[in-house]
Symmetry: C2
Subunit: 134 residues, 2 copies
DNA sequence: TCGCATATGTAATGTTATCACGAAATTTTA
DNA sequence: TAAAATTTCGTGATAACATTACATATGCGA
């Protein structure tokens, strides 16, 4: 009981697949990569993802229907995260901005909106991929 | 040539369906609502949506795979919009926040990331739906 | 009228996600 | 430890979302 959560076998396999990947993976891509490990059906992936998302070890990228391992798994403190997703190479940067989180919280407060989850995603081109393109 | 764009018949039908709706609609819901008008296949909806999104008359809500008519169709100026989506009643509020847009632009500048599109979506509970729930 | 761009109709297919059911494994409690 | 409750897992079917491919039509300038 050293780590905060013990993962089941399936959860560990899915998390490893995401950790090993250099880019976000779709649930079905994960399934394909885990067939050798005995995965047969989408639900095996989705169930593991559900738990990993709940724990906070994995994030879902809503705008591309894909999943990434959290970039800061040690500090589970994250509230609102933002993701910059390169549309060329798939690279993802995860970051926080307290001012943005505050502004959104302010808006919600004044409008009496109760946020359960906040999604911030930048789609574009990363530095590496923009080299050579004026 | 009073309006900025002339819509085709299909585009007008899809836009009307979205304008008339009190909540975001999925592409397939739009299809069902337009069957009386001769729609038969998903592509008729998706093609119209593609154009309406390009023009800026309609927005896509990435986190729920649905579409809404723009709340400010007159000022086509909008850069980054944010959406507050009620998970109970489906009501959507569209708003801007220049400070948030600036912070994101700053992050992108310093990280040499070139954003093509920015997604901000708050999922939660609107004021009306939170009355009576402590 | 020809050529081109845009819009449309339709079927088929691809991709993403969930439901329903039961069995197995694990944890809880007596 | 044995029974009960809870959680996890396996599997097939199905639902929901989106695109490809190809044929046809329509409008417009040369
Ligand atoms: Zn994270
Ligand atoms: Zn890149
Ligand atoms: Zn708008
Ligand atoms: Zn509501």
């Amino acid at each position: 009981m050293t780590t905060a959560h013990d993962l089941t076998k399936n959860q560990s396999l899915v998390f490893s697949a995401l950790s090993d990947a250099r880019a976000p993976l779709s649930a079905y891509t994960i399934l394909d990569r885990l067939r050798e490990d005995g995965f047969r059906a989408p639900l095996q992936v989705y169930r593991a993802l559900e738990k990993l998302l709940e724990i906070g070890l994995v994030h879902r990228l809503e705008s591309i229907n894909a999943f990434v391992a959290c970039a800061h798994p040690q500090c589970h403190n994250h509230g609102t995260m933002a993701f910059a997703i390169c549309e060329d190479c798939g690279n993802v940067r995860e970051f926080t901005d307290d001012q943005i989180a505050e502004r959104l919280a302010d808006w919600a407060r004044t409008e009496n909106f109760r946020p359960h989850k906040t999604i911030i995603e930048l789609r574009g081109q990363c530095q590496a991929c923009s080299i050579g393109e004026p």
